[in-house]
Amino acid sequence: MAFGPTFPSVLAAARAGGDSAWAAIHDELAPALLGYLRARGAAEPEDVLAETLLQVVRDLPRFDGGEGEFRAWAFRIARNRLLDERRRRARRPVDPHADPGEPGPPAPDAAEEALGRIDAERVRSVLAQLSADQRDVLLLRLFGDLTVEQVAELSGRSAGAVKQLQRRGLAAARRALERGAVTLSSLGAL
């Protein structure tokens, strides 16, 4: 956990309107939330991130809990906003977006960029082998640092179902790696 023992004071400062506290919360949450939204294939991940953070600001007076609960609450909001976006887009036909979505901007250096693209493609290819539920559970745990119980609560599943999904998801990822998830065609653009 990033805040650790300082989390209560950060939360109190944020409730009092402290700019630095909100900046700290943003810096702690935004990268993980944005990564989750991108990896889940959000069409407009930055817009969904903004909606999520604004919801956090609006509902903070009603929040009660520690840092783990706070993080899980923020990811629950992000997940709900993502579902809202998908419902909106389902009502108006658009070209289907691959799931998982594009990662963030590449590194500026050419060599790093090439390696980064290989890694990104590899990751995307593996994640694409997973079911949506497996991806959801694994990404919440991996990016959100959430426990099985927290993922179960925010996704409306039982803890046993979450454990089963993550186990099967990791097994599928391992199989994809064994098969060689990154094909030559995926590197052709390099």
Binding site: G17, A39, V123, L127, R167, R174
Partner: protein, 306 residues
Amino acid sequence: MGRCKGEMLDDRDIDRLLAGRSVEGEEELAELLAHARATYVQEPRPELREHLLAAMASERPATHPPTPTRTRRSMLPTRIAVRLGAATGALLLATASLAVAGVNLPDPASDAFDRAGVSLPNQDDGEPADRGRSEEVQAIIDATPPSERDCAFGHRVAEAARGMPLPEEARGACERGEQGQARGEERSAEGRARAEENRGSSEAGEENGSGDSAGREFGRETSERAQEQRNATPEQRRQFGEETSERARQHAREQAQRDGNPGPPATPEPDADEPQGQGGPPAGTPRGKPEGTPGGPPEGVPGGRP
């Protein structure tokens, strides 16, 4: 004891892998998860971060000052607030302009400026001016013996109570009354002389001498009513001044009719747009905008919304 590659992962190993720690025999899977985290979990672009922080600040409760940058969602209330602010500012400016022009504002409008800490010119505060006029009226009454409380006395009291000079027509009434008195005295003398000659022919002289008695009556009544104003409210004193002024005009008209002059009109033209009560500008102060003042906004101020 290690575990074989491809073996079923247990919950403990899964927790370790998802926490970014290594698990024997699952190095490639751990590396993939690390790459996944590094690939997707990245700091937002600096401009996005700035935008998000500003949007978050604008969403905070009203007790906290919003930052200048706002989201598209919060721009609409801003536009409305700007328009409301501009309309309110224009209303306040117009109201203050009325006050500068010498118009007494109603209490709610004056109170609004008071609450804002703005002192308006030419406004009654209801106390010092009225108190000053009351003392002035009392001083005139005290300085004038009852025997000398004639038409001019009534006018002085009326002017003191009103806080401004009576109209020219009313001020001339006493002079005309004195002239009428003189003419009446002359005619009375002539009548008495004729009566001496012709018995009972002095009626015309007595009639023409009624200007003096009317003036004295006006002064006496004004004096009595003025003394009743000691404990009157500011509004009652203002009413007294206006009524006395009107009675002075009426007195002047009756005097003029007796003299055969048309007299002042019932509602004199210069008073037609005078503010009611005291506190108005001196006579001759222009009320309307000066000639040549353009009606539109100043040059360079666009008419459209900002």
